[in-house]
Amino acid sequence: METDFTPWASLAGGAMIGLAAVLLMVVAGRVMGATGILAGALLPTSRDDGAWRWVMIAGMVTAPALYLLATGGWPEITVPVSTPMLLVGGFLVGIGVTFGGGCTSGHGVCGIARFSVRSIVATGVFMVACFATVYVVRHVVGV
């Protein structure tokens, strides 16, 4: 299924993601990794540690409603895979981000911006694995 090329919206959205990462570091001294925030919210080390993570997640989930207010429409969410694949993928992502210590926002944005060698390596590895997986799923297996 084709999607529209949206360089300006993507650049603007990316800049907002970056600005949020900078602000979280300025305000709370924290890396804005979605994986770490979610895992720490589920298994907090203290009440205070859990609190800021749940507030951050609560802020995040208001985004589609804010988008609706601004544009009059819900954001487009098209899932190009079957439900079983979505569940298998989600489970693998959960395993992988835990052992890999982060995801796109944590390693790919905050880690690279901190010049972390671990993050630069991890980002390269998960991008290559993703390119390979999509190729196999779409063009070899042909789902």
Partner: protein, 143 residues
């Protein structure tokens, strides 16, 4: 005060995800489908996020401590080990199968699309298994 500020930072992150297209799995998978319906938009998300974060971390972040915390909370791991590589690979495979990453999915939970909740449920299951599983296995082995 810290929590009051973190909420809008979460909303800014979420809005960035929604506007950039990272919350739409069809766009994410198409970015990785160079041999098929390629949509290069996501390179602009990464570019925008990194440009702001690379500069912002150096210009805006105070040296001594964050504005509303007594110290910075930065990842301390430095080693590129097998755990990091295998974890990042697993994440990349899951990402390619499902099209969602944690940062992409959490904000669009607020759009109340069933597929996002299913993915997030599987993601949480994966995180909990990876975090708690090894400890449970060790306890059983020693019992």
């Amino acid at each position: 005060m810290r929590l009051v500020l973190i909420f809008p930072i979460g909303a800014l992150f979420g809005l960035g995800i929604v506007i950039s297209g990272m919350g739409n799995p069809a766009k994410v998978v198409n970015f990785f489908d160079i041999a098929g319906t390629w949509d290069p938009s996501l390179i602009f998300v990464m570019g925008g996020a990194l440009a702001v974060t690379l500069v912002g971390y150096r210009v805006a972040v105070p040296r001594e401590r964050p504005l509303f915390d007594s110290s910075f909370h930065l990842p301390i791991a430095k080693k590129v080990d097998r755990r990091l590589i295998l974890g990042a690979t697993t994440f990349g495979v899951g990402w390619g199968i499902a099209g969602f990453c944690p940062g992409g999915a959490l904000p669009v939970l607020g759009a109340f699309d069933a597929s996002v909740w299913l993915f997030t449920g599987a993601l949480i299951a994966g995180i909990l298994v990876a975090r708690l599983g090894p400890g449970l296995l060790a306890r059983r082995a020693s019992a």
